[in-house]
């Protein structure tokens, strides 16, 4: 017997990857593990959140974790006073983010209960109205961002500004607009969490009831009872399916022999039917092409609207399938009927009236709140962040053209406040009538940081730091990250059989096939028909490739992770949260994925 570890490495003992020394300059000081706080930070248990942030942050992108996790915390700690849980403390170490949920001292919990009941109670009681209002608020954020455009400074102040007596120069607007964009992004993340934790809490309540009434009930059963059928997250994919059907119906499929959508549109615009299709394509873009194959947290995430080749490729696949007589649409009626069957069968297995009423009540609430949990993702990560990144790229282009850096995306190697400085440098030089300093200073800094990010990315994160608590009791750790006492123990135990991996049985089925490791969304193209996708974490927008693959294995993710939801929709076996799938399995190996037991075997 090998000795089982009882704790993880301390962040203070973890070596910096060679060539990445000085990485701390890329992230805000309050996210570092400081030497003079060693004792305090080592007393906490930190786990790596590579579920949401699988890759090393470029300095600008770290903003997404700051906004998201700060806003998550505020609702627990200050808005609703969730009795046992405050926010989640977080640090960036060697480029990855580590989380440490903050509990409430037991003696303070009772006082928070009535406050929570009143505050959260108001939200639950008025859920649908508040969510309607939420959509309006988020749309407001999106409209504001859409209205902002970044342009190069003109040679002189426009005449109309002179004549109207504006008295302000374009640099004033430029800086303001940049601030406005950051402000809108921050606002979107506030809204993101306005309902989310409450939604999960109601889900947890029903989940707990089911686990008590039917010990060992599969998590899958519970999620199937709660999960919605008509989910916004599937809309972009559905739009492409509709367009494929329309192309076949209008008899314009020949146009899609063209390599690019631009080429196809030239052909289509030559006929009336073609123009009908082109109009439908145009109409689908807003908002549904504000959709990323990433997860919205990285400046490198690609959005359909800026990369029409992505939806075009899916479209072409769907057209072929429609022509082959396949049904490409999700069987929504069947899914709905199955959900009702499952619910009715469990309900009929409860023989006590009071328990039956509890089941109905808790399920009822879970079903009211869950559409938010499923839909918010489209509004924030896809739509809002899609607009945000698009506008940031516009700004990056302006500054690149002004000579500040060589490649557009170099901007993201600067922290957000450093970009404010750059903008002042740009405006200052313009006003003074000299050339800015940035072009002479920034390229070296950017080159240095690029190298550091590359070196950091080459090393996988640690699963966790320090000593874990005996028992994981923090409800959000369990709900949002799917981290339980068992999973932490599994990380500590490591792996005895090098050919066997275990994870969460996220979507049932048992298949064998050839593995393909996909590290970034750009590699998705490499996937061949009937391969098994092995990846750190999948994004829901990978859905279109799910028609191609046999199964999915991920390093990270729980039962309600978006990846798990999509896999179940597509009837693909999935094992999530294996911890080390991408490092243990090699592309080309034959593997067996049992999504019913959560086992992955290298054959």
């Amino acid at each position: 017997m090998t000795q089982v570890k009882t704790k993880f490495i301390s962040p203070y003992e973890l070596k910096t990857p060679e060539g990445a020394e000085g990485w701390e300059e890329m992230y805000p000081y309050f996210l570092h593990f400081h030497d003079n706080l060693k004792e305090r930070e080592e007393a906490k248990f930190w786990f790596c959140d590579s579920q949401h942030w699988p890759n090393v942050f470029k300095p600008f992108d770290a903003m997404t974790v700051e906004f998201a996790v700060k806003c998550l915390g505020q609702y627990n700690t200050r808005h609703y006073l969730i009795p046992p849980a405050n926010g989640v403390d977080y640090k960036i170490h060697n480029g990855y983010v580590y989380m440490s949920p903050v509990g409430v001292e037991p003696e303070k919990i009772p006082d928070r209960v009535p406050q929570f009941m009143e505050r959260a109670g108001h939200y639950f009681a008025n859920w649908n109205d508040l969510v309607d209002n939420w959509r309006t608020k988020v749309k407001g954020v999106i409209d504001t961002m859409e209205s902002i455009n970044f342009e190069a400074l003109p040679e002189v102040v426009p005449m109309e500004d002179i004549k109207s007596g504006k008295g302000l120069d374009p640099t004033f607007d430029l800086m303001n607009n940049y601030n406005k964009m950051i402000e809108m992004c921050y606002k979107a993340w506030q809204y993101h969490f306005e309902f989310l934790n409450l939604g999960y809490a109601a889900y947890l309540d029903f989940f707990g009831f089911c686990k008590e009434t039917f010990p060992d009930i599969p998590d899958l059963s519970i999620s199937k009872m709660v999960q919605g059928v008509d989910v916004d997250l599937f809309k972009p994919d559905e739009e492409i399916q509709k367009l494929a059907r329309l192309a076949v119906k209008l008899g314009v499929t020949d146009a899609f022999q063209k390599e690019t959508i631009e080429g196809a549109l030239v052909v289509l615009n030559g006929t009336e039917e073609g123009r009908t299709w082109a109009d439908a394509w145009e109409a689908a873009k807003d908002p549904w092409f504000n959709y990323t194959s990433g997860n919205g947290f990285y400046s490198s995430d690609k959005y359909w609207i800026e990369h029409l080749d992505i939806p075009y490729k899916y479209l072409k696949d769907y057209i072929v399938r429609v022509q082959n007589g396949e049904t490409i649409e999700r069987p929504t009626k069947k899914i709905a009927a199955e959900r009702e069957r499952i619910t009715a069968e469990y309900r009929d297995l409860i023989f006590d009236d009071e328990a039956k009423a509890a089941f109905e009540g808790k399920l009822g609430l879970a079903r009211v709140v869950f559409p938010y949990v499923e839909d918010h993702n489209f509004y924030i990560e896809h739509w809002s962040m899609g607009v945000f990144w698009r506008k940031m790229r516009q700004l990056a282009t302006v500054l690149k053209d002004a000579g500040f850096w060589a490649e557009r995306d170099d901007m993201f190697y600067l922290k957000r406040n450093e970009i404010s400085e750059v903008l002042f440098d740009y405006g200052n030089a313009w006003a003074v009538g000299v050339t800015p300093i940035g072009p002479h200073y920034l390229p070296e800094l950017i080159a240095r940081r690029k190298k550091m990010v590359e070196k950091l990315n080459a090393v996988a994160p640690e699963p966790a730091f320090n000593k874990p608590p005996e028992v994981i009791t923090e409800p959000f750790t369990i709900m949002l990250w799917g981290i339980t006492t068992d999973s932490v123990n599994n990380w500590l135990k490591g792996n005895d059989d090098p050919n066997k991996l275990t994870g969460m049985a996220a979507s049932p089925g048992d298949v064998e096939g050839i593995a393909r490791i996909i590290n970034t969304t750009d590699d998705l193209d490499l996937l061949q028909q009937d391969e098994i996708l092995v990846t750190r974490v999948t994004a829901p927008s990978w859905a279109p490739v799910f028609g191609k693959i046999k199964a999915t294995v991920t390093d990270i993710g729980g039962m309600m992770s978006h990846a798990a939801i999509v896999c179940r929709e597509y009837g693909l076996p999935a094992v999530t949260g294996t911890g080390s799938g991408t490092t243990t399995i090699k592309t080309g190996q034959r593997i067996r994925v049992n999504g019913s037991t959560g086992e992955v075997t290298i054959l």
């Binding site: 309540d205 989940f207 686990k211 010990p215 199937k224 023989f351 328990a355 509890a358 369990i478 339980t484």
Partner: protein
């Protein structure tokens, strides 16, 4: 007089003539469950065979001192010898022979169909006297004469020492017990086992628990081998837990010697599960249907017939009401907190933390 009755031909009015096992097989067969074809030698046959002897036998059995093990064993043996030697009235014997011939034909055999001959006593389904395994079963019986010999043995098995003792201990009157005999096509089980339509550990009705082993089911039922153990969810028919055990040997038919023999299992069986997910799901679905048919939790014996292709090979050998949890007084679940209070409770005490 009905001396034999095919499962399919039995009506509800006939059930009392078939004994516990026979009744269950007939009712399952009528309900179109995949029961191997067969017939019952009815209790009427037993009564007519025993006719003039029965009173004496009962008298003698009632006088045995069941606490004297030696006496019980030797006197029981004498009674069995006697019962086996009683000559059958011609009408009874002919009827049984004809039934066997028909069974051979229906199973595509000219003659010599291998059958299982099982005793099926009438008291077997008394709710508080689970007679399961209290009487004898003879496997892989081939040919008319062998079959008849084993039918007699089954009648006699009513008087094994343990059966007498059991009736005495459970206050079952000797005259209340009659014996029917089941003669049924022998299933060449590739895999077999038992299933229960609840979790016997806690009475949870949302689970099906399955024991499965290679070969004939006897080794699983008797505990001679450690079977694979599966727990599946009854609603979505997904595996909840499974334990795969390496099985040293399997009971398989010895065609030449017309008997059952132990076959050692080689390397290729190591770590291999007896049932695939598809097979588990099919079995689970069948168990669900049976439970629904009988409207109570069931204890089911099943097998995969090695002579039939996958998808058609699931056969049902027996189903009887589960007796432990079904008779337990239900504990009333304690107060559920609803609404916001329920939420607070769940946040303070998330269920996963109780694991461990």
């Amino acid at each position: 007089m009905k001396y034999t009755l095919f499962f399919n031909d039995a009506t509800e009015a006939d059930y009392e003539l078939l004994g516990g096992k026979g009744k269950s097989l007939a009712s399952m067969s009528v309900a179109n469950f995949p029961v191997p074809n067969g017939f019952c030698v009815t209790t009427t046959a037993y009564s007519d065979v025993m006719k003039s002897h029965l009173e004496d036998v009962i008298d003698r059995v009632n006088n045995i001192n069941v606490n004297d093990m030696n006496q019980l064993a030797s006197l029981a043996l004498e009674e069995r010898k006697l019962v086996e030697s009683i000559s059958m009235p011609e009408a009874v014997e002919n009827d049984i022979r004809l039934a066997y011939q028909r069974l051979c034909k229906e199973c595509g055999f000219e003659k010599d169909l291998p059958v299982a001959v099982r005793s099926s006593a009438t008291a077997e389904d008394l709710p508080d006297a689970s007679f399961a395994g209290q009487q004898d079963t003879y496997l892989w019986v081939v040919g008319e004469e062998e079959m008849l010999k084993n039918v007699r043995k089954c009648w006699a098995s009513l008087f094994t020492a343990r059966a007498i003792r059991y009736r005495h201990d459970h206050n079952i009157k000797e005259e209340d017990v009659l014996m029917s005999v089941v003669v049924q096509k022998m299933v060449n089980s590739k895999v077999s086992g038992v299933a229960m339509t609840l979790n016997p550990m806690n009475g949870d009705r949302s689970k099906i628990v399955i024991d499965a082993g290679w070969g004939l089911g006897e080794s699983v039922v008797s505990g001679e081998v450690t079977p694979d153990n599966y727990m599946i969810d009854k609603v979505i028919l997904e595996i909840v837990k499974q334990q795969i055990h390496d099985q040293e040997f399997a009971l398989v038919p010895d065609f030449e010697n017309r008997c059952v023999t132990k076959k050692m299992l080689g390397e290729e069986y190591a770590g291999k599960e007896c049932l695939s997910l598809t097979q588990l799901k099919a079995l689970g679905q069948l168990c669900k249907t049976i439970e629904k048919h009988y409207q109570s939790p069931q204890d089911i014996e099943w097998a995969l017939d090695g002579d039939l292709p996958d998808g058609e090979n699931l056969t049902l050998l027996q189903s009887r009401p589960e007796t432990v949890w079904s008779q337990k007084k239900k504990e009333k679940p304690t107060g559920f907190t609803m609404g916001m209070e329920g939420l607070v409770g769940s946040l303070l005490n998330p269920i996963n933390k109780k694991k461990n």
